[in-house]
Amino acid sequence: MSVGPDSRGGFFANDVGLRRAAARLCALFMLGLVALTVCPPQTGASDLNPIRFVTPNGLTVLFLEQHYLPIVEVHALVKVGSAQDPPDKAGLANLVASLLDEGTTTRSSKQIAEQIDFVGGSLEAKASEDFTTASARVLKKDADLGFSLLADILIRPAFPKQEFERVRTQILGEIVSDNDDPGQVALKAFHRLVFHGHPYRWPVNGTEETVSKITLADVQTFFTKEYLPNQTILAIVGDLTQDQAASLVQTHFGSWKRGSPPLRTTRKPAPVERKTVHLIEKDLTQSTIILGHAGISRTNPDYYAVTVMNHILGAGGFASRLMDSIRDKQGLAYGIMSHFDARLMPGAFMVNLQTRSEATNQAIAGVLNEIKTLRESPVSDQELADAKAFLVGSFPLRLDSTAKLAQVLAQVEFYGLGLDYFMQYPKWIEKVTKDDVLRVAKQYLDPQHYVLVVVGDQAKAKVRQ
């Protein structure tokens, strides 16, 4: 949750005028765009030689040795997320993740906080749609403590009753508070409509109704069934030798008992069969608009062609057609982006923007027009070349910290992309042709059958139905 006056007064924080990155837009973007963070190197890729091994209890370990700074990042990915929440108890995976560091059989909630804070480290756990992550970041000298705390919260959480009640009430409050963010309100409504009847339809943190129904027994059962070493990927990046890393894994995770992970089925969301408009009234000066429909999964072979196509449409920042048309030419928005939220199951395609209430219809028409144009004629040679050059060339920037590296390694493993993925990605992007872009635009964009959500002052917006 983004709260507080952090847009003023702080060191980085008083950049109210940051030109491009609209905070809310980014928040929207981050909610689903897991797969796009897995973007590989053009240069520097050969320097990345992670090793992979599986321990006797089934834990998959990826290790990347980096001695540049005395830092150790340990990042666990458990293959369970909000998509596995029981339908009437949406928010369960998130509640379980939120309780991991609230007490274990060996440490109280307070002890965990004091131990990690005293060494200036961080310890975090959070659920997303497809998986849950828990990570520890410490100085090299505190590596043993980092592993110890992370293992403790993953293997031995105690779920004390009083912490359960407190954290659940906290989450319920956050759900209410989310309603002050028009982007959140719009996204929740959009997901409910695009993913109707599908596991992705609820927000990760659930709804007031479903979270109220979750019991402590639900939490314990979910944890016992899902948190297993053979359902977990552990990515370690930092200032350790391979022997040290292996030994830390053995010491802290060796006793974790293997189990039988539940079987997973994947589903496609049903197509949006008719244009669906959903208006939400709020006393605001801007309309927050989301327009879109179902998209693709991360493992779809068209992923790379779609990535290039989407870059040209609206993911490419100031180089994109949407930004050029809606922002630069018409002055209708501070930010506008399109996303293909590629997950384990097909996620959503969406365009989102904010514009002054009176300009709502003009902006929507502009978006639909760009979608149509992209389906009707090939992109220019220059657009294609520029998009590919950016996607391939910007890789090293996406792996420029240990935390990012650890996340990407874990996700490459999770989506089964293979450790040679870092070498392959530029080739896959380079292969995309103008015909591919036109083909995937026709196949995966639909300007007729879509969901449109508008949050704002409806009397001024006067959305054409």
Binding site: M1, V3, G4, P5, D6, S7, R8, G9, G10, F11, F12, A13, N14, V16, G17, L18, R19, A22, G44, D47, L69, P70, I71, D101, K110, A113, D117, F118, G120, V138, L139, T169, Q170, G173, V176, S177, D180, R192, L193, H196, G197, H278, L279, E281, D283, T285, G317, F318, K329, L332, A333, Q354, D386, F390, G393, S394, F395, P396, D400, S401
Partner: protein, 456 residues
């Protein structure tokens, strides 16, 4: 960039720990001053084949006048509209097709432009930055739509965000005569009143090499790069010396209070105390105090208001000692539904009073220092943030060298010092208290028809 951690200040403090953290120190920047007065700070970081190029101008909303609030930020937007040599659209396209990312940000004290890109493309960024330092084309046809974009930005960031709105009023109340009074992005009426001539004058006054600092951090070779920098930037003539900001805010004598009413879900309360900046010895103890209050789940505010009393959805404190002029130390809380905003304000005040009544424990003090030290090493992970630290220290007038003593001073802070500054500065007479009172929705939301129907 609201997603950047709030404890960035502690990171700044920690940056200068290098002498104490064996094996963790990056090399000091190499400093050069070009013949036209432009300062250049270069750091070789061969970790990955990338670099950040940042140009910092000593101009922000602090350098504006009444009636033209937001001019610095508006000019920042216009800086992407092209020059004679690189017409509109060329800048972004060139950077992106070279795999780079470019952006800019404006604050109260500075405006900064950056390119993050592969280290072998640094020259391209330098060429583009040198070009627009002198040759910007300010065109009315570009200005009109861009002004609308900035107004959308204001609606997005402030107008439609209850908490940001409260912070905006807080500054307007806490500073009466100093330009920290107005928001960086400006008021709507000021944006409407702005002219192309205003922009041109601002550009001519502040965008010159002698008012700028170039910072590059990454996989570069200083000796190879310096001749390029000289070739590109030294031909730019020195500009006028910009007028100094002479306003000092008068002492505050008595608490100020305000209420903001608007449609919202939950109340929000903020207490802003007038405090000194980096030029005061007391800033180090205030920095430690901030860490004790808000850093981590074992911090006082989290422990007390979130964990024990269960009063708030979020709570924090923030102090920006790296400001050109004295600013605010503020504590804030987002009130939990069913809790009273008055009770939350009392709880915040109680934590301040506790620090005044007795010094923090030795363990708390040591924890704050450890956090600062660790943050120092973690932040070296990012060239961008490393360069920002240098650029800001230089731009606000502290100078990166002077700040080199900062860490020793942090280390020297005692528990008694923390208590002393809490007593001296965090007092009722020098604070402004703002409360957001949520109004119920003007209209009931229409029944969420389609969603619910589809669900069944």
């Amino acid at each position: 960039m609201r997603y950047v951690p709030l404890f960035a200040l502690s990171i700044l403090a920690a940056f200068f720990l290098s002498a104490h953290v064996a094996g963790a120190a990056l090399p000091e920047p190499r400093e050069f001053v070009l013949s036209n007065g432009m300062k250049v700070l270069l750091v070789e970081v061969p970790k990955a084949p990338v670099a950040t190029v940042q140009v910092w101008y000593k101009v922000g909303s602090r350098n504006e006048v009444m009636g033209r609030a937001g001019l610095s930020h508006m000019l920042e937007h216009m800086m992407f509209k092209g020059t004679a040599k690189y017409p509109k659209g060329t800048f972004d396209r060139l950077i992106r097709k070279n795999g780079g990312i470019s952006n800019a940000f404006t604050s109260q004290d500075f405006t900064s432009y950056f390119e993050n890109l592969a280290a072998d493309r640094v020259e391209l960024a330098l060429e583009l930055e040198a070009d627009r330092m002198q040759g910007l084309s300010l065109d009315a046809k570009e200005f009109q739509p861009e002004r609308e974009v900035v107004k959308e930005e204001r609606r997005l960031r402030t107008e439609d965000d209850p908490q940001s709105s409260l912070v905006e009023v807080l500054f307007a109340q806490a500073f009466m005569s100093h330009p920290y009074h107005w928001p960086i992005i400006g008021w709507f009426s000021d944006l409407d009143a702005m002219t192309l001539e205003d922009l041109q004058r601002h550009y001519d006054t502040y965008y010159s090499p002698n008012n700028a600092t170039l910072v590059i951090v990454g996989d570069i070779k200083v000796d190879a790069l310096l001749p390029t920098i000289k070739r590109l930037f030294e031909p730019i003539p020195r500009g006028p010396n910009p007028p100094p900001v002479t306003v000092t805010e008068p002492e505050q004598r008595g608490e100020r209070r305000f209420v903001l009413k608007r449609e919202a879900q939950v109340p929000f309360v903020i207490l802003g105390y007038r405090v000194p900046n980096y030029t005061s010895q007391d800033s180090y103890a205030l920095d430690i105090l901030e860490s004790i209050l808000q850093h981590g789940k074992s911090s006082r505010l989290y422990r007390s208001l979130m964990y024990e009393q269960k009063l708030v959805l979020a709570v924090g404190a923030e102090y920006g000692l790296m400001q050109a002029d004295p600013g605010l130390f503020y504590v804030y809380a987002l009130v939990k539904p069913s809790q009273k905003v008055e009770a939350v304000e009392e709880a915040l005040t109680r934590e301040i009073k506790r620090l005044q009544a007795e010094p923090p424990t030795e363990q708390e003090l040591q924890r704050a220092k450890n956090q600062i030290e660790a943050a120092y090493i973690f932040q070296q992970d990012s060239n961008f943030r490393h360069a920002m630290l240098l650029g800001e220290a230089e731009t606000i007038g502290a100078g990166w060298r002077k700040v080199g003593q900062f860490l020793d001073r942090i280390r020297a802070v005692t528990a008694k010092d923390v208590q002393r500054v809490a007593r001296q500065y965090l007092i009722e007479d020098a604070r402004t208290v703002g409360t957001l009172i949520p109004l119920p929705p003007r209209n009931q939301h229409p029944a969420p028809t389609s969603a619910q129907q589809l669900e069944q």
